[in-house]
Symmetry: C2
Subunit: 571 residues, 2 copies
């Protein structure tokens, strides 16, 4: 069933608060002058203070406001306050509302989806008052960040020639898991055979994802603070060997996977500045920057803050698929030109839908399916012909596939599944236009998960498993938020609900990852920073808890990534 839009926006805001948005403070260490970034307050709108202007703040208050805005507001309203998921809150709009109205709005939220920042206690009354004034002030120019800043952030802790020449003896290292310890700014490396925590690595803050290099030897983490950490899994105690801050805020990282480019390049997608940065794969030495600011696909108006969502490496071409969220463009970025004497990047700018977010490969790894979450659509790129071949109604509200889940179904043929944040639907989409043309690029089965509301963030399966797992961490019902639903791969119906173990009640269960063999599913028990969370290991056959991995170090575990499955895009 569907749920009202106000709930949906509330859930998305919650997603930002809990899972995506963290306190990383005002941007510091910025060597650039902070100009030219698209400040939106024009001179004429700031001329001459009148009696009504009660919104003036001291420099110290402005700084505090900047920090809160970046942590709590920018995810929905944008750094430039032009709006995306949230409304446009540039001064010409906020001043018309006035301080009292804004204070009430920030305190109580709104049915349209604004969270109740004051009522929930996340912001103090003083902070609410400050923010009501802050958003009437001119939009501060966000910091620029260019190659000089990026180069200054580059650290190589272990040079390439000092790294191990071979994988660790006696370890099934391709069954290692990297577990994001989100609020600790760390990643734990766990042996998937023995469940032993081998090491804890300092990374950027609030790591959004880990990606493996094409060989699997390295993990790349990308923090929300834009910091990339390169972790060498061949070390006896895997640890960081290099670090770079290519952008100030980020969500995505990927490596080069095509033959001849294994472990050669890495690419980061920036939220701010909106751009991609290409690096050497084994040192993180920065090579190229390309701005993603541009003209959006619906009307063709300019978007400075055109953020980069998911990036994936095509296995069949020397190409990355880069999803530019606010313009709705999918860029096929050919990195083979970097091999030439005067290296260059070649970009095919394909117009799709807004706002592109995340997605994954079909079973054949020919088609890449991406959610356009503002339009409830799935856009399909054929990486063989390098064209957009389909735009599909997802069947629910705000599709959020993560990578999705792929199934070779006995009746429907190859399918790809996505859940939704905004409704309790899991959609199964046919992905085989040649073998099963009648089912291709349509929802062949729309499953309703048990209970009211959406809140699903990830679905996951494995070729050796008969199950598809779905989490619900964003559902406001606590009994749904801590549950994992198990769908039968053949009937495509829910067959069991895995409730969080009693000890972890109050936490959410989030994100599933199989071990290499596909016999276990690892799920995070995700609590507050002052709680000890866990990785709960379920047996894929019995659906019983097989093992709980925890320790004092298990702080806010969220995403967790198996080396082999990540290298081979198994989901």
């Amino acid at each position: 069933m569907n749920i009202p839009r106000h709930w949906l926006l509330g859930a998305m805001a919650a997603l930002s608060i809990g899972f995506l948005v963290v306190g990383c403070g005002p941007q510091s260490g910025n060597g650039s002058s902070g100009n030219g970034a698209g400040n939106t307050d024009v001179a004429s709108s700031d001329g001459g203070a009148s009696d009504k202007e009660d919104w003036h703040l001291s420099d110290a208050e402005m700084e505090r406001g900047k920090e809160i805005f970046f942590n709590r507001c920018a995810g929905c309203h944008g750094v430039l306050r032009k709006g995306a998921t949230g409304k446009n809150i540039e001064p010409q709009n906020t001043r018309a509302k006035g301080t009292a109205y804004l204070e009430a709005m920030i305190t109580n939220g709104s049915p349209a989806g604004m969270p109740e920042w004051g009522k929930s206690g996340i912001l103090s009354p003083e902070e609410v008052k400050l923010m009501a004034k802050y958003v009437q002030n001119p939009v501060p120019a966000p910091p620029e960040w260019g190659m000089p800043d990026i180069k200054a952030s580059h650290k190589v802790f272990v040079p390439v020639d000092k790294r191990p020449p071979a994988p660790p003896a006696g370890r099934n290292w391709q069954n290692y898991f990297g577990v994001v310890l989100r609020d600790a700014g760390k990643v734990a490396i766990i042996d998937g055979d023995s469940y032993e925590m081998i090491n804890i690595v300092d990374t950027g803050f609030a790591v959004h994802i880990l990606r493996t290099s094409a060989s699997g030897r390295y993990f790349y983490s990308i923090g929300r603070d834009g910091k990339v950490t390169l972790i060498d899994l061949w070390m006896d105690k895997p640890d960081r060997v290099a670090e770079l801050r290519p952008v100030l805020e980020a969500r995505s990282i990927e490596t080069s996977r095509y033959e001849g480019y294994v472990d050669k390049y890495a690419i980061v997608g920036g939220y701010w500045p909106p751009m991609v940065v290409v690096m050497e794969g084994d040192t993180l030495e920065p090579l190229k920057i390309v701005s993603t600011a541009g003209y959006e696909v619906d009307e063709g108006t300019y978007v400075r803050e055109a953020r980069v969502a998911a990036i994936v490496a095509d296995h069949h071409h020397p190409t990355w698929v880069v999803n530019v969220k606010e313009t709705g463009q999918m860029w096929l970025m050919d990195y083979s030109g970097l091999n030439k004497k005067e290296g260059s990047l070649k970009i095919d700018m394909i117009e799709a839908q807004r706002y592109l977010h995340d997605g994954g490969w079909d079973l054949s790894k020919r088609y890449f399916l991406v959610a356009a979450n503002a339009k409830n659509k799935i856009c399909v790129i054929d990486t063989e012909t390098q064209q957009l071949v389909a735009t599909i109604e997802s069947g629910g509200m705000v599709p959020h596939p993560g990578r999705g889940a792929t199934i070779d179904h006995p009746a429907y043929g190859p399918l790809w599944a996505t859940g939704h944040i905004g409704s309790n639907h899991v959609s199964f989409i046919g992905t085989d236009p040649e073998g099963h043309p009648d089912n291709a690029w349509k929802v062949v089965k729309l499953l309703e998960l048990p209970g009211v509301g959406g809140g699903n963030v990830f679905v996951k399966t494995h070729p050796n498993s008969n199950n598809i797992y779905c989490d619900r961490p964003l559902n406001p019902d606590k009994d749904l938020a801590d549950s994992i639903f198990v769908i039968d791969k053949e009937t495509l119906e829910n067959k069991k609900t895995l409730v969080i173990p009693e000890k972890y009640k109050g936490m959410k269960q989030v994100h599933m990852e199989y071990n290499r063999a596909g016999t276990e599913v690892w799920v995070a028990a995700w609590g507050r920073k002052d709680q000890q969370g866990a990785i709960i290991v379920y047996d894929d056959k019995t659906l019983e808890v097989k093992k709980i991995i925890t320790g004092e170090w298990m702080v806010t575990p969220t995403g967790h990534f198996n080396v082999y499955n990540t290298v081979h895009d198994i989901y």
Copy 2:
């Protein structure tokens, strides 16, 4: 010989005043909100007026300042005042100088190249005072301009199916010339056989160049105001058949020339907004916009105002070479993807040098040579391998080839020539790495033109001619500014100086174009708006004046373009 840098910058400013920069008023008719364009004044730098702040202006004064700034200052200092040829004059710099200093500077100019706006009488004392204050104010957000604005500007005067099915009978239409009547905002179409003025067409203001469509049937004009006018040369009286304003300020336009794409697409390069716009070739219907803002090649810092200089169409690939001035990137833009179902543009972003300006093909039309005028370099793209193959010291200061001139020299082999704005050198560069490897990509002959100083803007030749012509319109010596120098194609020495006919003394001679047969050279006598200028036709053999084309309509003639020679890139 070289000349001091201050002269050079003065000359470049003069070029802007006279040839490139015109009064087209404040940007009006802008349907966008004018935000997000990279306003550079941050909130904190504008907080709280102190006693020293004598620079406040009324709204009306700000509007007048904007207009003057756009017409007189933006060419060198940039719309965002970040500086390029001129200095950075953002408020943090101008306020430190103070109003009195700025007034003196604007009045008297500076040895570093600032023109004497007050002393010369171009600005009144009141206007000087206004501008001294204006530049201390926050930089107004320049207007945005996106697809909604562009579409609203689109006019088709004569639909495609109402246009003539065949060329005009009895006319050698491929020997037509289009003559830019710059300050009139018009283009005259002249029959090159009979010297008859056939029609005068309303165009954008201060047309910068005319380009023919690949078949030659159409002229495209691009005004400095960003307006494109499509002129159908098959009409008995060639006239405009469509119009579009893809950008607010522009310098370049080109069409698709590759087989299968003849007359199919056109592309405009914007100065503001910094972007390219692709249109249907025969209707000017806008298709795609791509922003050129990006990271410059020297340090890798962000440049919002990355303006588009010359664009040329590769004859051998479905590709445009787009020169992005401030980033120093040469974009190879493949337009064949527009043919696909979901049409897209593919861009290879090649890093070259700053500031890319203009250039032309070598004799074989395989290599495209472009001047990087801040570095006194010529960058060479091999369009066969699609790589940057050479970066050459031009041998003079501020190379300005226009399209250059190509020669098959008996001793040196194929050469390409460029003059310079900043020194009196004409450089001859070898362009045949296979046949003449010793001469390739170096200056094989550096000719000094007679007299002190630079000021050359164009060089031109024709395969049927033994001469190369060079103008000097930017030389402060009036006897050089009205002279055309004739260089012998074999000796590569100056053999004659063509002084302007007595009647036109005081005007400059500028821009040369051959007739189709290569037997005549047409030169503009370029005066003030209240003078009657002329096209002076020289016999290429005798070097005597053969014909003077004039009339009341001959207002400020500048560039003039022969249909056949433009189609075939003959120079």
